[in-house]
Structures are given as C-alpha cells and as structure tokens.
Symmetry: C2
Subunit: 602 residues, 2 copies
C-alpha cells in the first residue's frame, strides 16, 4: 500500500535546480587551478584600471580575488563589472588561475578567479561605515546597523567563537551524563533578588508571569525529581539599571547535581574549564588553586582576584603603626603592594598614580610610596617618620625586591582594600601583566552566607536564599549572622567571576529558618516559595550546582574584556535595541486585552 502511494507521490517534478556556489570564498588554493567554479558573496572592494578590474569577493569564510580583463572577459561582463560597488551581492562563474603577485596574508592569496559570468544578486547602498576590521563607524551607528557590523571579522569571529564554546560545553557535559532540560520562561515574580521583568497574562486578568532571573528553583525541583545531572544553556533576565557591559537579557550555563558534595562540583567544572582551555587554546591547566573569600579579600582586596600577576597585599599595621605618622596610627588598616621594577618611576609618574587613587571612582585620600633602590636602600614619601630598618620591614611584608615600588594606602579596612585592589588592577593593566592569552582560573570558596544591606536594614543572601550555611557555623545564625559561612564558591578567571554556585539547602526546616533570617514571615515564605518547601517534604536529595555567565566566559576565553561583540544583537545602556527600535508603544486595544492602563507619572 505504502509503495503504491509513494509511486504516485514521486511523479511530482521539480524545476531544474540552480547552484549558487560550488565553493566558498575562503577555500580555493593553487591545487584548484584550472577548475571551473561558482562563487557568491559580497563585493569587499573593487579596483578598476580600465582594461582590468579586480574585485575582492567576501563571504563568511574568507575573501577571493576576482579578475576581469578586456582580453579574456566578454564586453558585456566587463561592463557589468564596472557597475559593481561595495557590498553588492554577486554570483560569478569562472576559472581558478594562479596569481602573478601572490598575497601571503590571504588564505586564498595564491590564486584568483578569472570571471566569465557575473550576476548581480542584489545591489547595495553604500554602508554607513566601512566593513573592515578597523571600521570608521562609532558604537552607536554600528548598533543601529548591527547586521552590517556582523559582516566585520571581529564581530563575525566572536559569534563563531561563541558557538564553538557552547558546542564544546554541551558535548563535555553530555558525555558526563548531564541532561539538558528546558525550564519555563513564563514563571512567577518573587521579591527576593534583582527586579523581575514581568509579562501580563491576558487569560488571567490582573496577573503576571515573570521572566526568570535564573532557573534556580526549577533546577532544584529537577533534583527533587531525580534528574541528578542537569544543565541548560539558557537566557536569564534582570530588570536592573544597566551599567556598561551589562545586558537585561544574558545567557547562563546552568548546572545542578544531586548526591554530591562541593568537591564533586568543583571537580566537574574544573574539568569543563580545563576542557575548554585545551580544546580552544590548546592550553593545559594543571592546578586550579583555591582560596577562601577571607583570604582573597586580605590578599587582593577583591573576591575575584586576577592571579596572573602577584602584587599581593602586605598588611603593614604591625610595622607602620605606633610611630610618629598619625595618618597610619589612626587607620584601621595600613596595606601596601609592591609594583615590580617601578622604583625608577619619576616623581611625575608617582604623582600620577596618587592622583589616580584620589579620583572619586577610587576615593583614596592619599598614598604613601617607598622606592626600593637597587643598592638596597629605601627612599619614601614618609622618610620623616620611618628609618631604613622600618622600611625594610615594609618591603618584607609586601614581598618587595630591589627595584620595586611600594605603594601604601590606609583607612577603614574594607574600603582601603577595595581602593588598593583597584590600584593593583590598574597597575596590572598599565604594566602589561594581564596578558589576554594567559589563563589563570581560581576557586574562591567559603563566601559569607549573608550580607548586611543598609537600604533595607536587613541581611540579604549573598548568593541566594537557597544556599546552605556551613554546618559548623549554624550556631552563629542567631548571634552573629554576618559571620556564618556558606557552602558557596565562585570560579574566577583572570580577575572576572565567570561562575558561581553553592550546595543548596535540601530540607524544609533549614529553608524555613533561612527565610526567617532574611526577614520573611512564615506566610510570605510559604506564598513565595511554598512550592519548593513542599517539594522538600517528598524526598529531596542533597544537591548543589553552579552557573557560568556565558557572555563573559566567552569574551574572556576570546581574550576580550567586553561582552558586546559576543552577543549577536545586544541592547544599549538604556536597555534599547536601537536597530529594531524596541521597546515601543503598543496599541490601546492590546493594553485593554491585557486589562492594563498606562499610569505614567510626570
């Protein structure tokens, strides 16, 4: 029966089929000489010498030089070739020939294509900026014409690179039996955490969905459901006031595992990071060092230190206080770093650094310096108060060697550490110590469970309210909540937090206790997270997880600081897509269908 049917169906015939290209613009080589080929692509540039025309034809894969000449090309094609302009879309047929003057900078640089047929597939207006690696277009115009910006190698290659990273991640995790599971985008708004984007429900007047800030609760429910190794590469949403390099929608590599301890999670994601660095950069990373949050703050003033370079903090209270220098004597913390080889800095250069730390963005009141001369002597801005023996102790505490410059800040501990951390990173950049092709991962562990929020006068979860406190610190929850450490960890790469996670609470009682400490009444906790706490009553396994920020991970693996080129259609700092002009007004009828009215305050 089936065959008879097929027999009849196959009677239908198609028109003859035209091939747009036999090769792409990046693959022809000397070995292809004399082949008759077809290419399609965009006119990168055209040089018309009258009797001869050269055209660089570009597609996603590269550039191939086309040649038209009076002798070998028909008058008609020659005429059409003269009408070509930048970014025209064309198709050519022709013969591969060896070039007379070869271009070693181009993969196809040994050949060119002598064109016999030319078809203009689409004309193009002159683009508003040049489609070159170094373009003449500013950020705004490139955002508006993002589809043209994507034609440029830096953006195109970033998007291809991102694909490579995500494929690599997916294959790695799938091979380890992780199952990618899609969690819903239309969920429920919760007051904890950042501000939600909401979605009015037409079918449920007056009610709203929320877009997920992360699939946190769903992945925990999957653990309750027994799916013991979950991952998802997933969009998340946060309606926050945008800072540079922050997007209202961003992508996470989201993972969760059951029947594990922190050690298992660190192992799996060390493995993933190792795999990425190996497969993408052919770099082997042996050790993933680990550091507690406290240690990171003390040594680098920062919970995401860049350990590609040293300049560890040296605390100088013991050796710099109790002398005649009141500024230090009155300070909670005196702390310094040794800038390698910077003893040769001129007075002007040092003043520049002092001005830099005094800028409002950093906020130091002043800075003391000590030059460690190559002859073993010291010269400082506080020679009046400290002798050579004193300064030698400073050098010991900061690890300074002959030729280094010690820079010292003082004041309230947290603030001073943050200031010195900013200076350290600035020096790292200026001195070229933050090499884009070097990769130094680091686990920061034992984060505090809670942090005090001045605005709301209560503790907030530092990670999120599902993070488990360390058992040995539980007794501090009532007496000194700020001291309780969490089973929480961040993966830091080159001074950026690329991932973070925790071992979760998996019993209703601890979860309820946690909500209590976050200022929820029992009713509020039940209303907001009742479904999770109920789930915990039906046999929740011990579980934990981690999420990587894919946008940043990709940028850093790509050796870049900004994420924008790694996102196909990013939004600007006002959350607008200037290309499609979104957000935009909607019809009154649409509003009414959603049971909404505008309520715009002047």
């Amino acid at each position: 029966m089936r065959d008879a049917t097929l027999g009849i169906i196959l009677v239908f015939k198609f028109l003859p089929y035209i091939m747009y290209r036999s090769h792409n613009c990046g693959e022809l080589r000397v070995a292809d000489v004399n082949k008759e080929i077809t290419l399609s692509g965009w006119v990168q540039k055209s040089r018309d010498k009258g009797f001869m025309i050269w055209v660089d034809l570009r597609d996603r894969y590269g550039i191939t030089q086309l040649i038209f000449d009076e002798v070998r090309t028909s008058t008609e094609v020659m005429k059409l070739a003269k009408s070509l302009s930048r970014e025209y879309v064309i198709q050519v047929k022709g013969t591969v020939i060896e070039r007379e003057s070869k271009n070693a900078n181009l993969a196809t640089g040994e050949i060119e294509v002598l064109v016999t047929e030319l078809t203009i597939l689409n004309e193009a207006q002159l683009p508003p900026f040049t489609i070159e690696d170094e373009t003449d277009g500013g950020e705004d115009i490139r955002m508006k014409y993002r589809y043209l910006d994507i034609r440029r190698n830096p953006v195109k290659n970033s998007l291809l690179f991102r694909h490579k990273v995500t494929q690599s991640v997916r294959n790695y995790l799938s091979n380890l039996d992780f199952c990618e599971i899609e969690t819903p985008y239309l969920i429920k708004s919760t007051p904890e955490g950042a501000r939600d984007f909401v979605v009015p429900s037409r079918m449920n007047p007056g009610q709203f969905y929320a877009l997920p800030q992360s699939p946190q609760t769903f992945k925990q429910l999957l653990m309750v459901g027994g799916m013991d190794k979950y991952f998802q590469i997933v969009k998340c949403f946060r309606d926050e006031d945008l800072r540079a390099d922050r997007q209202p929608e961003f992508t996470q590599i989201d993972c969760e595992m059951s029947f594990i301890e922190q050690e298992d999670i660190l192992n799996v994601f060390e493995g993933l990071t190792r795999h990425l660095l190996k497969s993408i950069h052919n770099i082997d990373i042996d050790a993933f060092p680990r550091m507690t949050f406290d240690e990171a703050m003390r040594k680098y003033g920062n919970d995401k230190p860049d350990i590609r370079f040293g300049m560890e903090f040296g605390e100088l209270n013991a050796v710099a206080q109790h002398k005649e220098f009141a500024v230090f004597n009155n300070a909670e913390l005196v702390v310094g770093i040794a800038a390698p080889g910077a003893a040769t800095y001129t007075r002007k250069e040092i003043d520049g650094l002092i001005d830099w730390v005094k800028r409002p963005q950093v906020g130091a009141l002043g800075m003391v310096y000590v030059k460690c001369e190559t002859d073993g002597s010291f010269k400082s801005s506080v020679d009046k108060f400290y002798d050579q023996e004193d300064l030698k102790k400073w050098a010991e505490a900061t690890g300074a060697k002959a030729g280094d410059l010690i820079l010292v800040l003082s004041g309230p501990a947290n603030k001073t550490r943050a200031q010195l951390s900013a200076l350290r990173m600035e020096l790292g950049n200026r001195m070229g110590l933050r090499k884009p092709d070097e990769f130094a991962p680091l686990w920061v562990v034992d984060f505090p469970l809670l942090e005090w929020d001045e605005d709301s006068s209560r503790f907030h979860a530092m990670h999120h309210p599902f993070t488990s406190p360390k058992k040995e610190d539980m007794h501090l929850l009532d007496t000194d909540p700020g001291k309780v450490r969490a089973n929480a960890y961040d993966l830091v790469l080159n001074g950026n937090e690329i991932g973070g996670g925790s071992i979760r609470i998996h019993d209703k009682e601890t979860q309820a206790l946690m909500f209590k400490h976050l200022g929820f009444t029992a009713e509020q906790a039940q209303e907001q997270f009742g479904f999770l706490m109920n789930a915990f009553q039906y046999g929740a396994p011990p579980h934990g997880g981690l999420a990587f920020g894919l946008d940043r991970l990709t940028a850093i693996l790509g050796g870049q600081e900004t994420i924008r080129d790694f996102i196909a259609f990013p939004k600007n700092n006002s959350g607008r897509d200037v290309m499609i002009d979104a957000p935009a007004q909607i019809d009154q009828a649409q509003l009414e269908e959603l049971s909404l009215a505008l309520n715009i305050k002047a």
Copy 2:
C-alpha cells in the same frame, strides 16, 4: 611571580570528602559480586518479612535491590531499615551478592546488595500518587507535583530522549558549519501573526518589549550580516487561546541559509531527519516523497497527510453524479476512501462510523457506503440509485479491492475533504495502521502564498509575510491573489507537521509589495518592519530557512501523540503553571514602577 602566589594559595585545605555513591542504581551486575559499594537513591518499595527486609532503591539510572537480614545486618541498621518508607532518600554501603531468585526484567536483576550501613538522607511524606510507570494519579495532581511525576519512567525517559534528540540535532548542524546564534528575547511587538506576549519596560515608561513568536526577522538579519548557515534551538511565545497540546511557550529548531534554493534546504533537512531516525531508531529512510499542497488536499484532504497508510481519496463526481441520487448531484464534491478489509463490518459498526462523521466536531450530514464483497459483487446503501457497473467504477476510483469498504462523503469541496480526512485518520487509528514505530516523512510544497481571512476581510500570509511568491505566479498578485503559490514547504511526519519554511523575499520592493497586499499602508510597513526593509538595501543575499517544532518532533520520534511528557514543566490549558501557581498578582509598587495600572473589566 605566579608560582609563588599559587604556592601560598594552595595551603588552604578542604575537609575530608564524603562520597555519596560509588555506583548508580542501574549498573551493578554479576561481575560486581563481592564488591563493597555505596549507593544513594529513593526507596521505591520495601518488603518487611520481619527477619528480612528487601528494599528497591531507585535513581535516574535504574533500580537495585537491597537486602537487610537479621543474621548479617546489625540490629541498629535493621531497626533503621524498618523505618523506611516510600520515597525516602537513603544512602547505603554494602556488598554486592548474587541473588537466589533472579529477576530477568531488571538490568540489575541478577544481584542484590547486602547492606552494612544505612543513612537516611531525607525523609519523605507519602507521595500523592504512586511513582510507577502506570500511576494512580490524574493529570491535574501530576501537574501540581510535577517534580514527583518526573521521577516516573515515562516522563523521565521522555526528558532524557529530548536531550538526546537536541544533542543529535546540534551536532549534525554544527558539523555542516551551521552556527548557533542566540537572538534576543526582548524584541518588538508586531500586529502581524499571532498575539504577542509583551513585557513592560520600566526604563522606558509606557513602552513594551514583546517576546518573540519566532526569531524570523533576526535570522533574516543574520543572513544580511553574512552568517550564511544559522540555527538556534530557541523558545518562542504565542499568546493564543490554548487548545489541548498547545503551550504558550514552545521550542523551535530554527534554521536559515543564504545562497540557496529550496532544493538545498530540503536536502539539508532531509539529511537531518534521516540522521535522527538512523541515530535514534536505527531506521534508514531512502526516499522523502514530495507532494504539492494541492495534491495533498486532493488525495488526503489535508496538508499534513499521514502516508504510513493508503486510503487515498477517490473523487467520484464523474461516476456518481448525473444519476438519480439528488444528494450527490447537488454536491460540489463526491469523494470516497476504501477501508481495507472492512467489508465484513456489521451494520452496527457501519452505523457507528456514520454517527462518528455526523458528530459536530466532524460535521458531515451523512455517509454512503459500499461493501466490496469477496465474490466481486458490491452491496451499498445506495443500491436504489446505482447498479453493480456504477459501483465497480467507484471501486476503481478509490482503489478498493475485494473485501474493502468504500465510504463516501459529499458536499462543498473543502469542507467535505476535511471531513473525509478526519474519517481517514480515525480509521487509521482504529485499524492500527498508524504504527508508532514506523516513520514516513513527506515534503508538502507549493503552499498558497495568501489565505483569505473572513474575520478581518483581507488576505493573510499563509506562512508569514516574508515568504517569497513563486516568480511565475507574481502576475496573479493583483488579479487572483489566492492563486499565487509560495516558495514554501512543510515537512510532515506521520500526519504531523514537524517543520515548515520558505524561501524569503530578499529585496525591498517585493517586500513592500507583499505588505501592500496584506493591507499595510507604506507607513505601517515602515513603522513595523522598516529595519528589515532598510537592511535589504545594504546587500541582502538570497536566503531561506525552516523551523522544526521541537516539542512535537520529539514526541513523534518518541512514538507519542502528546507533547506534554516531553516538556519538563508544561502549563495547563489555561496557561497556568499549577505547580508554582503562575501567573500571579504583583505588588502595587511593582506596577507603579512599570508606569502601569490594572484596568480589569467586570
């Protein structure tokens, strides 16, 4: 410098690490006998014979039988084992031993684990339904406790299967140089197509983003941007009144290619479908038959025919009209099918079929039947009007053989075809001709470009407004728009549309013309889709694409009719997530921040 840093960092020490399991519950075999192992999982069931207790321990990977007995197990562990109840989460240490009575139905059925240590990791309330393949829980309760439903094999395996399909799709397309590119979720509302979900923008009062119904325009912009092979597995959103088996958020495998013709796209996605069937079911599909839309409608009354079985339509106007039977004489179409081997149906069975087609959901006014007896004679419900010679012609037209039952409907052509199609599918189901393990793909091509919409009294795009008309039909756009065929195609599998796509318009003029025919003013077209038409001016390549519905594709590949088990957290028919209770009300403060007020009509 770096090493010194690392040296210090590595001083930090971790607490000793406890392993939750050495094996999973699906992997122990006779070869493992005498091994000391650790397992963790859920108590599937427990049989307490007093001196001996058996527990089935379950995890994602399977079930392993545990045994506790008075002789070999400590009193303490024995006591704890007696307290175990269904769905408790436990960890056991013990020795693998060979079973006395083996269970051939269980992968681990030749062994059991003699338990020496038992830890209760979490207790569990009795679940509201049984965690068995055949559960006692109804749909509603299973949706509310979806995390428990996921523990059941049918749901768990569907989710694992979905992961396998998506990984397979991603690897196949990536190997063909397709690049997965994430397009934005916060885009702009457009009036064309289905209703959008919208997202109020706090930062732009009175303005809204929309969630994408598909990444259509973005993927076309990627083509303009030169990314000539794009794909994305992506969530899409439609705020439609829900029908059974339709979700407000659904997942698409979305693809687009440049410098291609329809033939290239069909080839690539035939290849993908072939790859899926081979890798998942080890089925080789040679031919992907093709059929025009017109042909599909004539032969099956349906643009997504199930060709696993015949019962092609036979048009009977020529042989059944111009006799004495007024019902047929007055009908636009008389059309029949031959149900194989159904001549033996009793009068009651045939009446049942007649009642079935007369139900309001089908809507036929009546049905004529002809039994093709094995002796070559015919017996019909219209013997009064037709003789044996007449009925023989009916049999020829419907392909009926001796022993078949011809069923004939009549009336307005489109309506009658739809009714007969419904009957054909019903018979296919009843007669077991729609075999879940047989896969019959089919391309349906040459869809109409436009379809008339009674409600709005205008033509709508049948596919979407970016689909290109066939060149040879362009002249009909003004005179007979309904006759214009599009370069549009659907991939049908077992009677379900699993994918659809088209070759797109790639020049501004044709796109503007298309919008005009859809009733847009030039201003409206510019306002809604100006960014796309502008893009077409900067060198758009010829392009086209296709999107598969992943939810349905997975269900069909999994041999299922409904998609719900293949979605981790589906919504119910009112668009609600009954587990988390979303959508829900939001705070007045949140509304005000969004410059919105509720406007609920009574």
